[in-house]
């Protein structure tokens, strides 16, 4: 216990130096401002801002980068709520109820809940990292390909619950998402699959390209056709911050969300992505009136946002303790650390304790900064929404184009985004929902990789998924979730059929 306190105080002493505080603040501010721009997600933001940090000392630079990371995550959630464009896979869920709330004039409440939820869960996550970081890594190493696969199957089961409407259409969307994720180069043989012969598709479809097209562009197209339903701020702005009643409704989802997010974020291999989806599913099932979800239920923002932030922070655990980045953003951080001469690995904790604990302490400070920065900004963002749509949508478009271009300096990415915009428009016309498709897409790559790896390792024995206890357990839970999700729909269908 005292070791834990001693470490934390070392961390805070490091993090609270004037210089490091300034770095933290600057990072969080810049990260938020850039992350808010539609089309520019956390990866693009960090890659853009990384060179700025080169002239600073390692601890300061990394604190700033971490600040940029949370700032960008939060900025992405802001865009998700205000204009229905998710900055990253983890903000997709926030668009569902967050944007619905914005359309009801409750944008301020949604943003406020997201900020508060993120702070509370950030505090929790910091404590988890500080106290349990090292032992938890050992747990994560128990996850082999079979376990990951089963976890992803569970994730897909969650996706079915995401649906606002027809379960069949939701399942179709998940399948289409999985299909799109197979486009690219086959991992084992190097063959190109479904790439239509285009070199630009050789590495598959980028998530940001798909999300921007199907959400961003299609949303603009939809708004242009329905001017009445798009005025996000009808009349009065309404409350800028959540009321006590809102907070009471939100507190339990926040607590549940942060536990889920923290647990899933530890898993190397992007487990953090599942956090918000799992939280949304849980809240929807626990709510007394599930039909509110998708139409502006505050639990649908509080839970996922808390899960989101908790996961984003615990995702640092594999990085700081093992030196292995769990996702693309963390891989950038590894590069950043290496450039600054701190090579991440199991010994960072012992060889550079000021760095390790300083970063953890500054994570909490960063969360505090975000709250301080963002709550006042809520008023600004909501006022920005009053800009006439005829000027707003070209602005959104230009930011999206620049943002997409900047991912890989590739104009063809922008072309594909336009194509997916058309695709997304078609989906809307046919009554499909894009959210389950995006989840299917994100999970698809991982699922196939882990599925084939597990089979290669077991030499073709399918029983490996059930022989291994953790994997079997996860598959069982997935089955249960699916049954719970599908039964009401079947019952409804039978009633409808009887009525005919």
């Amino acid at each position: 216990m005292e070791g834990f306190l001693a470490n934390l105080s070392l961390g805070f002493i490091t993090a609270l130096s004037l210089q490091n505080l300034a770095f933290c603040f600057l990072g969080a501010l810049i990260g938020t401002l850039i992350g808010v721009l539609p089309g520019v997600g956390p990866i693009a933001t960090i890659a853009m801002l990384l060179p700025l940090t080169f002239s600073f000392d390692p601890v300061g630079a990394l604190i700033m980068l971490a600040g940029i990371y949370y700032g960008a995550q939060y900025g992405g959630s802001t865009t998700a709520i205000l204009v229905n464009i998710p900055g990253e896979a983890t903000s997709v869920v926030t668009t569902l109820d967050g944007h619905a709330m914005a359309k009801q004039g409750r944008a301020g409440v949604a943003l406020g809940i997201a900020a508060i939820g993120s702070f509370v869960s950030g505090t929790f996550a910091t404590l988890v990292i500080a106290a349990l970081g090292a032992p938890l890594t050992g747990l994560a190493l128990l996850f082999g390909p079979a376990e990951y696969f089963s976890l992803m199957v569970l994730g897909l089961a969650f996706a079915v619950v995401l649906a606002r409407g027809s379960v069949l259409k939701a399942i179709s969307m998940i399948v289409v998402g999985l299909l799109l994720s197979t486009v690219g180069t086959d991992l084992e043989t190097g063959e190109e699959r479904l790439t239509l012969g285009l070199a630009a598709l050789a590495d598959g479809i980028d998530f940001a390209v798909l999300a921007m097209g199907v959400f961003g562009f299609a949303e603009i197209l939809r708004n242009l056709e329905n001017p009445e339903s798009r005025d996000v701020v009808k009349g009065k702005i309404g409350r800028l911050l959540p009321s006590m009643d809102d907070m009471k409704q939100a507190i339990a989802p926040m607590l549940r969300g942060m536990s889920l997010g923290a647990a899933l974020g530890i898993l190397p291999g992007n487990g953090a992505v599942l956090g918000p989806f799992a939280s949304y599913t849980l809240e929807k099932k626990l709510a007394r009136d599930p039909s509110r979800f998708g139409r502006g239920a505050i639990e649908g923002v509080a839970g996922p946002e808390s899960a989101n932030n908790a996961g984003a922070q615990t995702a640092f655990i594999p990085l700081l303790t093992l030196g292995i980045p769990p996702n693309a953003v963390m891989a950038l951080m590894v590069g950043a650390m290496t450039i600054h001469g701190v090579i991440p690995g199991p010994q960072v904790m012992t060889k550079n304790p000021e760095l390790f604990w300083g970063m953890i302490a500054s994570m909490w400070i960063g969360n505090l900064m975000l709250l301080v920065i963002n709550l006042p900004l809520v008023g600004l963002w909501v006022r920005l929404l009053k800009v006439p749509y005829r000027l707003m949508f070209p602005a959104i478009l230009i930011f999206c184009c620049i943002g997409i271009y900047s991912i890989n300096n590739s104009p063809s990415d922008v072309m594909f985004t336009a194509f997916f915009g058309l695709f997304g428009y078609a989906l809307i016309k046919f009554g499909f929902e894009p959210a389950p498709m995006l989840l299917g897409f994100v999970l698809g790559r991982l699922m196939e990789e882990k599925f084939r790896q597990a089979l290669v390792l077991s030499r073709g024995n399918f029983m490996t998924f059930i022989d291994r206890p953790v994997s079997a357990g996860l598959l069982l839970v997935a089955l249960i979730v699916l049954v719970i999700a599908v039964t009401p729909a079947i019952r409804r269908r039978r009633e409808e059929a009887f009525q005919e």
Binding site: A47, L50, P51, F54, L141, L142, F143, G144, P145, T185, L187, E188, T189, G190, E191, E192, A199, A202, D203, P268, G269, P318, L322, G323, I324, P325, P326, A328, A331, L332, M333, V334, G335, A336, T338, I339, G341, I343, P344, G345, P346, Q347, V348, N408, N409, S410, R445, E449, R452, Q453, V456, L457, R459
Partner: protein, 324 residues
């Protein structure tokens, strides 16, 4: 009015088009890195680029263009205007193994570039999960030969450094093991630490810290001399496999047709970076290998690329692997 405007545009275009070596560079220079930010090649490029910016007096801006094992970025670089304002960081994969791996490759590493100079290389290590019984390289080779059917080798995908270098190792050992593909080094390393797979060949940058902490073990490093970052790991020469000498070398290239004096200026800045104390320290801390004075000229690089292509092509063709 229009004529004035037109002549202004013409003059501007003329100024932009002329590659004047005396003034080079007059604006920022783009260095295309054909991999995602944060990876080993990107890190080397940024460290060296930072120092070169000081010598050249203009910023070196790294542009990451990832894809198809690095060939997307190199293709773009090869097709850029040869005015010295677009350079690229190629490596063993893009300029050595690529012709064998990608039949539809749109460039020829030996013909479509002006070599500028070798940058830092990252040596390859043979590593295994910490519980694997063999203690030395010789024991390892015997073990693998005896247990071929049960062994699992991890790599980061067809076309990656870990793939091509282990293809060579496996063919040198004369074994046929099960190769497990991962999407990137991170997940592969993760499973190696967890003991799900048996061994791997990869660059020191990714592995050094793990080896020092004991979460994986290293049998040998494939260079002439031991690395200062890992002084306890024997070289393949010492351990009994002197022919396995590979490093993931990185080098700066310019598109074909770039004027010789501009190439010389860039090479000079590169050499100065390699001699700079601060830059050397950062590269060596990573485990990087800084080329000898004799290996830093454009001519040396040109010959080296030819030899690398000749070396990798038969090995990869024999293993029957092509990326599409």
């Amino acid at each position: 009015m229009i004529r004035l405007f037109a002549s202004l545009v013409a003059v501007a275009a003329l100024c932009a088009g002329t590659a004047n070596a005396q003034n080079y560079p007059t604006r920022p220079v783009t260095l295309i890195v054909p991999f995602a930010a944060g990876g080993p090649t990107d890190i080397v490029a940024r460290i060296i680029g930072e120092n070169m910016s000081k010598t050249l007096g203009q910023q070196i801006v790294v542009e990451n263009v990832a894809g198809a094992g690095g060939t997307t970025g190199i293709t773009r670089g090869a097709q850029a205007r040869p005015d010295g304002y677009t350079l690229m960081m190629g490596h063993m994969g893009t300029h050595g193994a690529a012709p064998a791996l990608y039949p539809n490759l749109r460039y020829d590493p030996t013909k479509d570039f002006e070599p500028v100079g070798l940058a830092a290389g990252t040596p390859i290590l043979i590593v295994a999960k910490k519980d694997l019984p063999p203690k030395t390289l010789a024991e390892f080779v015997a073990y693998v030969k005896a247990n071929q059917a049960k062994m699992n080798e991890a790599h980061a995908g067809v076309g990656s450094v870990s793939f091509t270098t282990c293809t060579m190792l496996n063919s040198m050992m004369g074994v046929k093991v099960t190769r497990v593909a991962y999407r990137g080094t991170g997940p592969a390393l993760n499973d190696l630490i967890g003991g799900q797979v048996d061994y791997m060949c990869d660059q020191i940058v990714n592995l050094a810290e793990q080896i020092k902490a004991g979460s994986i073990k290293a049998y040998a490093i494939a260079t002439e001399q031991r690395s200062p970052a890992l002084p306890d790991v024997p070289t393949t020469k010492e351990a009994g496999m002197p022919d396995y000498m590979v490093s993931a070398w990185n080098a700066v290239f310019a598109p074909k047709g770039t004027p010789k004096d501009i190439v010389a200026k860039v090479n000079d800045a590169l050499v100065k970076a390699l001699d700079d104390e601060g830059t050397r320290k950062r590269l060596l801390d990573l485990g990087g290998v800084i080329p000898e004075k004799s290996g830093r000229t454009p001519e040396w690089l040109g010959d080296f690329v030819k030899s690398e292509v000749t070396r990798w092509t038969p090995i990869l063709k024999a293993a029957g692997v092509t990326a599409n």
